[in-house]
Assembly symmetry: C2
Homo-oligomer: 445 residues x 2
Amino acid sequence: MGEQKQMKLAAYLIGTGMHVASWRHHSAQPNASIDVTYYQRLAQLAEKGRFDLAFIADSLAINHDSHPNILNRFDPLILITAMAGATSHIGLGATASTSYSEPYQLARQVASVDMISKGRIGWNVVTTGDATGETGQNFSRDVHFTHSERYQRAEEFIDVVQGLWDSWEDDAFTYDKEKGLFYDPEKVHKLHYQGDFFKVKGPLNIARSKQGQPVIIQAGSSEDGQRLAARTAEVVFAHKDNLQKAKEFYKELKDQLPAFGRKQDDLQILHAIAPIIGDTEEEAIAKHQELQDLVPTDVGLRFLSGYMGNIDFQAYSYDTPASEIDFPKVNGIQSQFDEMKKIIDTEGLTVGELYARLTNSARIDEFVGTAQQVADAMERWLEEEAADGFMLQVPLLPSGLEDFVEKVVPILQKKGLVRTEYNGTTLRDHLGLVKPENRFTRVLK
Amino acid sequence: MGEQKQMKLAAYLIGTGMHVASWRHHSAQPNASIDVTYYQRLAQLAEKGRFDLAFIADSLAINHDSHPNILNRFDPLILITAMAGATSHIGLGATASTSYSEPYQLARQVASVDMISKGRIGWNVVTTGDATGETGQNFSRDVHFTHSERYQRAEEFIDVVQGLWDSWEDDAFTYDKEKGLFYDPEKVHKLHYQGDFFKVKGPLNIARSKQGQPVIIQAGSSEDGQRLAARTAEVVFAHKDNLQKAKEFYKELKDQLPAFGRKQDDLQILHAIAPIIGDTEEEAIAKHQELQDLVPTDVGLRFLSGYMGNIDFQAYSYDTPASEIDFPKVNGIQSQFDEMKKIIDTEGLTVGELYARLTNSARIDEFVGTAQQVADAMERWLEEEAADGFMLQVPLLPSGLEDFVEKVVPILQKKGLVRTEYNGTTLRDHLGLVKPENRFTRVLK
């Protein structure tokens, strides 16, 4: 077997937690999403648990049906800058869109935080999913980009950003006061990028950080998304319903790496889980039920209407058997409907149960239980090659993360699956990713 | 006379200082421009001096002739976020361009730092001057915007940003756990902005900070720039050669306020000065000469070539009388040429002296001298209505700012011209600007 493989851990931080009703919990601080010290404490907690990174998601539009924790929140890059100042080792990942940003600007901001944090930053590349259907309208566009446009643009965008990040060779700045030479002009490089979407000359006005380049994170699971990930991503967040599906996705994605000249360990797959820890399994399940019971009915019905496109669920009650509803065929999200119909038919769900199922952020039962049960499940997923690690979408913060760090992490550390001390200082160090050589230095060899 | 008027103070922070050769000084830390703790210490120093704000400039392209301190530096918004974490009272101003940003994105990032800093942020609105002639090419444009396009776009941009900043009324978030009401839907507002450059729906996904809205800063002195400032700016940085010109500019700009329904104190004019403090006047002058002597000749000649457009100064030496050079007429920067020719003819400068004059960041002699002399000059400018305060473009950092805070500020405090303690906590508090009412709340009254 050789050296035991350790699991990667990421903490998805979002106000009072991933659960839509978490803010109503008696322990929740409802203004958490705009409290910077709250986020700093969570990052410190994850650092105490020796996590690889803390992670901030994003969206570029909100409406009445948005998750309460995203209605009023910080820009992710600004937030992780503040979190960097309160931590020393943990990596920090921020989401930023390739559809609504300029690559020069984004390259620069991400590089700036990477420099400030001494090489602890990851950029979560999103093409923006447009849950509200209104994102384009916040950016002077009548409509959002098509799926394929988004991914073509994203591919160019990443090429530009990574190219700009190599503008300065690591020893470009000579600072020779005597001779008056601030830098060596041979060691700064223009990019001269020309693509279908972008033309960017360069050079960027900031040098590389300690880790060379920020880490590229992605979550796309569509065909386009997987292709982009196989080509460029170093961390992928996966979302599957169960171990079997996770294993299939893991293999499918890793199998695409060689075509891009990449090795298995060049891309780490972190599976999303929503752990809830109890002293007993029953207590853990009860904790989850407590959150489900806090969801206001109208929120649930509106969520279903939004999720299902053109069905008005507000005409039904939670008790209506979902099988009584006539689901029309709708273009574009047919796979969503098909999956849902299958669940409804197989399990005979009511509307309320359907909602609970769809919003159940702890939908993988293995990760709701005692600390030992959850640690064992995580070990199993790692061993079975369903994941290289986990992104924790904790339903209720901060208590759910405290439980995990205090109760599950020590078990995982005893198993040798989680580090007891950080061995390095950069996010690449933590993830076992090599510092990328500067492309221009390479060329000159 | 009534209550004595106090002066506003801003510290322009830029690596080793404004002087192009400051990095070569024996006391300079040449990598200062990418050292976040260095900037944090400078902000703390300015806070100790009870400054209103610390300020970060910007550019979106670099070339061989760029000031060494801007070749490798942080994005201003990222940097002030890190500075906010190391200070508690001082305001923080960051430059961001209306020509190469999206208003939704910028509104959000500035609002995020404003929230994090508890209301201490100012946005320096620039349309981007394009010193390198290559800025557009970093943003997929063949050419930069024209001057008039830039200002039309800027006007719309500011309207959108300020409109988005009012998306949420101050009491919109009810956090009623019992009833399950996170916010009051009547108190969130879409902007529905439709202009020639932007269409932005809103709402923004972040609420107003303690100071209501970030402060709008500008520096434009062209006709378009002044008009935009008179309409929207709350702080203006002025750059004039002497007291008389400063007084004229001050009056000219303030006189334009009533047309926009604004009062004299709604816009504070801070004049740029480059103080150098010595124990004697001779010592201060010698300090400045020491920096001038550190400028490499080729840097000076290249600077002149760049500044003068199409004259190759590298064909001349520093000793050549500038009057021997044939200055062609060039479109666009004719006023620059005319001013320069006048100086050359009147004062009989050599090429070297011409360069020293143009780059002399301490070009107003009154602000080079003993602490008492500089304090007296500042008092005079305030009394004569040449400025409401000063932006300190210190030639050599950190020592020049230390001198000012330790030696000049106490004199100004004794004169009653600078506060001894902060009275408020927000940038608006410091500047005496009222917290703007939310436009949507106003409408409903």
